[in-house]
Symmetry: C2
Subunit: 412 residues, 2 copies
């Protein structure tokens, strides 16, 4: 291992989560405490902040505010959705990044995000190696979608899963309150992977979970769906259904397609409005009282209901990234490997090659979908349950959260 | 005061809340402990359970499960929306109720709900007096809408207010995460009264509240709304807006009217879909990235985020109802009177005549709306803030709530 003295940058990218700031805090705190890291910069709005020279000096922030990052949702440094070119095609952005790195003697770069962010990370790592600028680049995983390769699970998923399971329990109580019965369709995020929607099944541990669950990993058939729901409703007088925003027909068309109108910076379709569409169809077919609920942003920002395990693991991921970089690693992402044998749960960090992560998606496994394609199996429950354990340590002021507030001292 | 020995019935009615069961528990616990109350019955699905002779024997339930009612959302005894006839027009239901009361020697009747439930309560009280059957009838208030007359505030409101304020803080963090800006419209419940929507302003205590708030107590003008939002958005690049489901034009037409398709049992229009409608209009007018979020059932069932003050006061309301009945009162509703002088907060119960409550609605006061009609004033913050203080004591099992589960032993 070679000692490398210099500044570090931490940036956040992509859709936020309840615990993305725990990882950033893990990076910042560990970096601030290490003598080899001379300065800790926060890239304002991710890589766009690097390109624009907007670097927040984290050394100047109040340590008490930094610690509040553990209980502050969304990206406290600001996020972006910026698709960086391939360095072999267009070096413009990389030359600018190199210039900024050189100007502030940045020797450590940490990027906190999902698949697309790991792609950015991998490209920067590759470019710096190519031009011979010594900079250690480590990715810190984040995504509520839980779809990153090379890791048992992703920081952010456990908290969203806990929010979804808790919300299903509460909504089920509400939806079953009258003797007249009701069909309730709840839409969860997860464009291409069903992990989040599957998490609704955890509510079943206390017998208050959804009757039916539809994931993007099974092709959707409207007739089968209507028959499933009607069957359940006519039997019990109630039905609560979890659907992923990304459910699609066998030809790949999203069920919500009629509602697709916008694209994000990466060309992903923005989905929404599916729950009310399905609720209308069910109303027409069954005549039942129906309600469509979209969990929307709430499932990814409800820090008040974050998982204690997730908070702690997200912090560890950030800490491990800095330790790995100090130990000489680069071009890696921190991942988790977990041991669930004998009903226990031990989670350790490991390092994964960035090029084995970037641009891949880890789907929800088919073996954890039931034969009917409308619920999950025990295997998933055993996998997911440890991730939602423990509560947040969020301190409230006047009955409300008090999130981190930064001074935002930028470099000149 | 005359001693009256006999059984009691507690029933729940109308839309549920996070703490309606705290009030029911206040009734049940106090009644179980009093020697004059010989048996405690829970009416299954409110007055419909009385009419159908479906009475749960609460004495048979596990005391530990009863105590869990403090942390269990929605009506644990089941609710109904049943419009009872006026006894002067049609005595059918009352004769049946009297029959059940006589059969089980019911001398105490407690009804836990909102305006319509107090109406039911008042009519039963009047009928029993008319026919000379001695039965003490006391209403226990509940409504997240906070629109009951004769009380400083309603149990259920504080918890919904805390949920709404917390959610606005979290959503604001999420909506502001990118540098590209966004307009976010969040729809809150409150058909005719703006209390819940106004509660979003509490998030402003930590500078994370909505930019604009629209209540049903001000006539809505679409042009003014678009101008307000556009103005704010062009100035700061972001805008978060709270709207009540019940906003309406000067002629009384609901803005959400196009979406109105159903009625509940009382002839109230069921509203919804307003947020996405307004978001589409704003997108068309501004070209900004927009998102519409409907808080839907979540705002009234999120027991995990209930206000500790609300839980305690809701319990007190139930307890006070039993104590008042035992002391000889009838035809009353329990209300709160609060002293907020010198920045303090003391809340005591009182008794209000049911006929001063039934079928009235307490609107949000105009003096607490700003001159522009698009935000609230400090007076409301001072009123509302004490109501959201303190946290729930909810115990979790396996990282999830464990709600009350009843045996449901019915009378033969």
């Amino acid at each position: 291992m070679s000692t490398l003295k210099g500044a570090c940058i931490i940036g956040q990218s992509g859709g936020p989560s309840s615990v993305i700031n725990c990882s950033a805090y893990g990076v910042i705190k560990t970096a601030l405490e290490d003598p080899n890291i001379t300065k800790v910069y926060g890239a304002y709005h991710g890589i766009k902040g690097v390109l624009g020279g907007q670097l927040m000096i984290m050394d100047e922030e109040d340590p008490a505010e930094l610690e509040r990052m553990l209980y502050t949702p969304s990206s406290a440094l600001g996020s972006c959705r910026y698709k960086i070119a391939d360095p072999d095609d267009d070096e413009t952005d990389y030359k600018r990044i190199l210039e900024v790195f050189q100007q502030y003697n940045v020797r450590y770069f940490f990027y906190n995000g999902g698949n697309d962010s790991m792609d950015t990370c991998e490209k920067i790592s590759r470019y710096m190696a190519k031009v011979g600028y010594e900079c250690r680049v480590i990715g810190v995983p984040k995504t509520i979608d839980n779809d990153l390769m090379g890791t048992d699970h992703c920081p952010g998923f456990g908290s969203a899963a806990k929010y979804i399971a808790t919300t299903f329990m509460e909504v089920l109580r509400d939806a079953h309150v009258y003797d007249t019965g009701m069909i309730c369709v709840v839409e969860c995020m997860g464009r291409n992977a069903g992990w989040l929607t599957a998490a609704s099944a955890l509510a079943g541990l206390h017998h208050e979970g959804p009757d039916l669950i539809y994931l993007p990993e099974s092709d959707f058939e409207m007739d089968k769906f209507v028959a499933d729901v009607s069957g359940r409703f006519s039997k019990t007088g109630d039905c609560i259904v979890a659907v992923s925003e990304g459910i699609h027909y066998a030809d790949g068309t999203f069920v919500a397609d009629a509602k697709t109108s916008e694209n994000d910076g990466f060309g992903h379709a923005q989905l929404g409005g599916l729950a009310s569409m399905l609720a209308s169809i069910l109303k027409e077919k069954t005549g039942a009282k129906v309600r469509g609920i979209e969990l929307s942003l709430l499932q990814r920002c409800a820090a008040h209901l974050a998982s204690g395990t997730d908070i702690q693991e997200a912090f560890q991921a950030g800490k491990a990234a800095v330790e790995a970089a100090l130990a000489g690693h680069t071009g890696k992402m921190v991942g988790f490997e977990c041991d669930r044998s004998n009903g226990g749960y031990v989670c350790n960090t490991k390092l994964v090659d960035l090029n084995k992560v970037a641009n891949f998606e880890k789907k929800y496994p088919k073996m954890w979908i039931n034969a009917e394609g409308n619920h999950v199996t025990q295997g998933f429950i055993d996998y997911c349950l440890p991730l939602i354990q423990g509560e947040t340590g969020m301190v409230k002021v006047n009955g409300l959260p008090r999130f981190a507030q930064f001074r935002r001292e930028f470099v000149k």
